[in-house]
């Protein structure tokens, strides 16, 4: 039985941007349908954190909060089809305005052994540990790139992991330039983490070459560009920065720019009545996300955005500094060999893909990107390694956006 809900606005995502937006929309008299696919609000960054602000919002009579629900299809930008994680309930939600606060996921780059149990995303391992994953006393390596490695290290250490080291691919010089240009608030954040991470080996200019092990991870082969050495460990958290989540925006037909949802000065997308805020408009961190959530809500309410302009410009400048400070070295695109799997769902190797010039051929010939994750992992990889276009018309985004039981799509 499909349930129908209607409101003034639909907000998709309950991370910092979504929370900021809903906090503004409700007191202004709007009714809101708030959808998030995680069982608890907070997005990735505030996963598992106490959020008194959200607890207060939840009680609001004009809010329909739908945690554990995913958008699977759309009639239009103003009518979305949702289903709950348990696959028990289908919901049709309607509103004249839509805010996409879709967040980001990790950029994964393939290397031999990356599919072994024991290898996780760096943020992935942090998320798993916040969900109660046993890590106490286990030997953990973090590798890849970006501030998330530090945040993940802090969480893992707090959970009792034996952290062997953080291997950051960016060279020391780029990191020093990045740190020197930090605004004061960000510096404090970094120092706070630094204090919690004291005594931990942080090695810039190093990256993983392969994960070693037969049926599970046993060691990681690392390099600093000069020498190679194997580091025995129980778990590897590896991630190479973040990528905006754009699938729902693509399904609706929103224009993209540089892999993020393209937005104007009022955070409006290319579609009328559809706004986007936070990491899905470009990677810039939690402060940018909170600010854009508030800005998008103000725009949806027809208010001016002048009070936000200067702070937003600062956040966008930080985003640019982040991108250049942690730019990926070319060696990382050479890690996968012909046998390395690129598509984890359908077990398609780099060698099997190199014969094809674009997505369409690859899908027809190898089933790459046609498994359960619908190309979310292999899509960005093929774009980076093979130059296949990633956005619509490349991989092609189609409903359902998540694997769902067929009955979810049957109208009643």
């Amino acid at each position: 039985m499909t349930k129908h809900l209607q409101a003034d606005a639909i907000v998709v995502g309950a991370g910092p941007a979504g929370i900021a937006a809903v906090s503004h929309l409700l007191p202004a008299g709007r009714s809101v349908i708030w959808v998030d696919n995680q069982p608890r609000p907070g997005g990735q960054i505030w996963r598992g954190a106490a959020l008194p602000q959200v607890d207060t919002l939840r009680q609001h009579p004009r809010l329909s909060m739908l945690p554990g629900h995913a958008v699977v299809a759309a009639e239009s930008p103003h009518e979305l089809l949702l289903h709950d994680a348990a696959g028990q309930q289908t919901l049709r939600v309607r509103a004249p305005q839509l805010l996409l606060a879709l967040g980001a996921r990790e950029r994964m780059l393939p290397f031999p052994g990356w599919t072994l149990p024991g290898v996780h995303g760096a943020g992935g391992l942090q998320a798993l540990v916040k969900g109660g994953w046993p890590i106490a006393g286990r030997r953990v390596l973090l590798a890849g790139s970006g501030p998330l490695l530090l945040a993940s290290a802090a969480s893992l250490r707090a959970a009792g992991a034996r952290l062997l080291g953080i291997y950051e691919q960016a060279p020391r010089g780029a990191l020093a330039r990045f740190a020197a240009g930090l605004p004061l608030g960000k510096m404090a954040q970094a120092l706070g983490l630094g204090w919690r991470l004291r005594g931990l080996p942080y090695a810039p200019g190093c990256w993983p070459l392969r994960a070693l092990g037969e049926n599970k991870l046993e060691a990681v082969l690392l390099t600093d560009g000069q020498r190679e050495w194997a580091e025995p460990c129980d778990a590897l958290g590896v991630g190479f920065g973040l990528l905006p989540n754009t699938e729902l925006a693509e399904l609706l037909g929103c224009a993209l720019q540089d892999g993020a949802i393209a937005v104007g000065a009022k955070l409006q997308t290319s579609l009328p009545g559809v706004f986007a805020a936070g990491e899905c408009t470009g990677i810039g961190g939690v402060d940018k996300a909170s600010l854009e959530g508030a800005m998008a809500a103000a725009a949806m309410l027809g208010q001016g955005l002048k009070p936000y302009a200067r702070r937003h410009a600062g956040q966008l400048a930080f985003a640019r500094r982040l991108a250049s400070g942690f730019a990926l070295r070319p060696e990382l695109l050479q890690l996968a060999d012909a046998k390395t799997l690129i598509c984890r769902c359908e077990d398609v190797s780099l060698g099997a893909l190199k014969a094809w010039p674009q997505w369409r051929d690859a899908k027809l010939q190898t089933r790459c990107g046609m498994g359960a994750c619908q190309g979310r992992i292999c899509g960005p990889i093929t774009q980076t390694l093979l130059g296949w276009p990633e956005a619509s018309g490349g991989r092609g985004t189609r409903a359902p956006l998540q694997p769902v039981p067929l009955r979810c799509l049957m109208d009643d």
């Binding site: 990735q44 149990p117 996780h120 995303g121 992935g124 998320a127 798993l128 969900g131 984890r344 359960a372």
Partner: protein, 78 residues
């Protein structure tokens, strides 16, 4: 609390995800890939689909996105 994994009762901490519960119970894999490789939760946030298991008879549930509850029946494909 107790959940049942592949027909065997397992004691796991309360309030954890199904992915974490499986790891506590010593299950190193949630599924086998098409070519028979063991796979385990990778992204931790509902993107990669590596942690899909059967929960209370429902196939294709994501272990990392589901909270374990007393008496839950979990079946891995590993």
């Amino acid at each position: 609390m107790k959940i049942i994994i592949n027909g065997i009762e397992a004691e796991v901490p309360a309030g954890v995800t199904v992915a974490a519960a499986l790891a506590h119970a010593g299950h190193g894999a949630t599924r086998r890939s098409l070519s028979g490789q063991p796979r385990q939760a990778f992204c931790g946030m509902g993107v990669c689909q590596e942690c899909r298991v059967r929960i209370d008879g429902q196939p294709e549930r994501l272990a990392c996105m589901s909270l374990a509850v007393e008496g839950m029946l979990v079946e891995t494909l590993a």
